[in-house]
Each structure stands twice: as C-alpha cells, then as structure tokens.
Symmetry: C2
Subunit: 136 residues, 2 copies
DNA sequence: CTTGATCTTCCAGTTCCGGGAACCTTATAT
DNA sequence: ATATAAGGTTCCCGGAACTGGAAGATCAAG
C-alpha cells in the first residue's frame, strides 16, 4: 500500500508518516520503484500513533507504548512496569477528560444560544485542588 | 504570588508560564519590583492550560476553551457552538482513552512480570476500523 | 553585607511537524 | 503514443510550542 492510502487509513498526513519513519518509529518496505510499501501492521502502528499522539502522549511515550507489543527482546518485567505506569497516567487523563466533558455539557445545556448568557460554573475545568473560588 | 508559586500550583514550568503570557493567554499584574504577580484566577487559568494541553489540545484550542468562560463580549450562540464541537471531540477522546486503558489493564494482568510473556491482544490499541488482523 | 535563591529579559536550540521546490513514476485522456 | 495530472521521492526551510542558558536585578537569610 502506498503512503497516500496509509495516510487515509491512519488519519496521519503523509508528511508526518515520513517523519515517523525518519525517527525510527516504523520501517515500511520499499517497492521496486522506490515507493514506500505499507503493510497492514504498519498501518496498525500508524493508527496507534495517531491516537496516542492526539491523546497528549509525546513521541517518546508513543515509542515506549509501541515497544510494549512490538519488542520481543524486552523483558516481561519491563513490559509490566511500563504498562503499569502508563496505565496510571491514562487513568488520570480519563478523570480529567471526564471533568472537562461534564463542564462542557453543562455549558451546552445552560447557554441556550439565544441571548447573552451567564455561563458560569466552568470552574471545574481547572480541576479541584488549585485555587477554588476563582471567578474569571 | 510569584511565578515560582504559580508554577508549583499549576504544574507548569515557569518558562512555559512566561511563554503563555507572551502569546496572550493571560496577563498577570506586575508588582513594584517588576515581578509578575499571579492572582488566584490566573492560577486557575494556568491549571486549566496545563490540563487541556496534556490532553492533546493545541494552544489555539485552549485559547478557545478559555474564551468560553472568560470572554464576556462573546455571543451566547458562539459559546454554545464552540462548546458543542469541543464536547464531541472530548467524547471521542474519552472513548479512545478508555480503549487504551483496557488494553493496558489487560497487559498488566496477563504479563505477570516473572518470565518471558506472550502479551498479545494489544490490537485494540490501534482501535477498530483500520487494519484488523494485524499481528505485530 | 554577602551569599544563594528567585526573579527579569533575551537569544539560541529542540521537538514535531508543515510548506514548497525540484524531480520521478503512474494513471488517465486524447 | 503522448500530454497531463496525480501522487510519489528527497531536501531544505519555516513555524508552533516550548526549553536551556547567559547576564543582570531583587529578595530573604546568616
């Protein structure tokens, strides 16, 4: 499969896909004409990269996550340790995203879109634990 | 409050906080000595920025989100439209994060960490809809 | 009053791409 | 068969979002 199709199926721009190859995140085959030739598992990796990047993981974190199921030379204990640490981070992100969702839902429900609103109560957007009574 | 305290309370490096000021995301007061002086609501904004950036929103998206509850000159219909569109994106991210969490949980449970594992079934990491039977 | 921590500005470097040039290959239309 | 467009290649430069370091001012402590 050419880079255009891989781009469509992964949701990543061709430019980005070439960049990921440059920094060693995947190494597709080359066809006789010099074109990159993406396998199904290449596209799989690309889709995963698209997702995890859009969820706020750095490229190096993505590399780690990919190694969890790509690297056969890795020790089981390593895999487990990395997975556990990433799991904790994912769970924290889930909590924060859910709070953001709730705040946005509130906003959508309470600001009818017909006139100048009040739309307060987005304090939860900044999470608990910081400055509480802030009125911005 | 000085920038060091604001940094601690928001989780953002002082460098980043100054950068956010440069690009107009907030404008703290200045004390007599020239030091930046952060209010509770400034810290509130900073905490929100830290969160939303770590959840994969671009700086411009964060600016939009902040304007949802900061900008009194904005029309109610605008607020509602932006909130609805961001809400959809947040819900998509929530779904993907939950899938990633499930995959990591599976990994943590099934790879005991004592010997060489098999650890397959991380296909769900790349989500459904793309290459299916990929075995990486 | 000196020392160390923290603040200031400014400039340079890094990461993660995106735009565009210059060129080659493939598919389509005449 | 041939023009033409569409899509591929490398390369290099520019931009977004920081990050590190230098040079200097300020503050809190001994």
């Amino acid at each position: 499969m050419n880079i255009g199709a891989a781009s469509q199926q992964s949701g990543l721009p061709a430019k980005t896909i070439r960049y990921y190859e440059d920094i060693g995140l995947l190494t597709p085959d080359r066809a006789g004409n010099g074109y990159r030739d993406y396998s199904a598992s290449d596209v799989h990796r690309l889709r995963f990269l698209q997702r995890s990047r859009s969820l706020g993981f750095s490229v190096e974190e993505c590399r780690q996550l990919l190694s969890l199921y790509g690297d056969h030379s890795r020790e089981s204990a390593d895999v487990r340790a990395i997975a556990k640490s990433k799991l904790a981070e994912v769970e924290r992100k889930l909590t924060e995203l859910a709070e953001l969702r709730d705040a946005l839902r509130h906003l959508v429900r309470n600001c009818h879109g017909d006139n100048r609103p009040e739309c307060p109560i987005l304090d939860s957007l900044a999470g608990r634990g910081g400055a509480r009574q802030a009125r911005i």
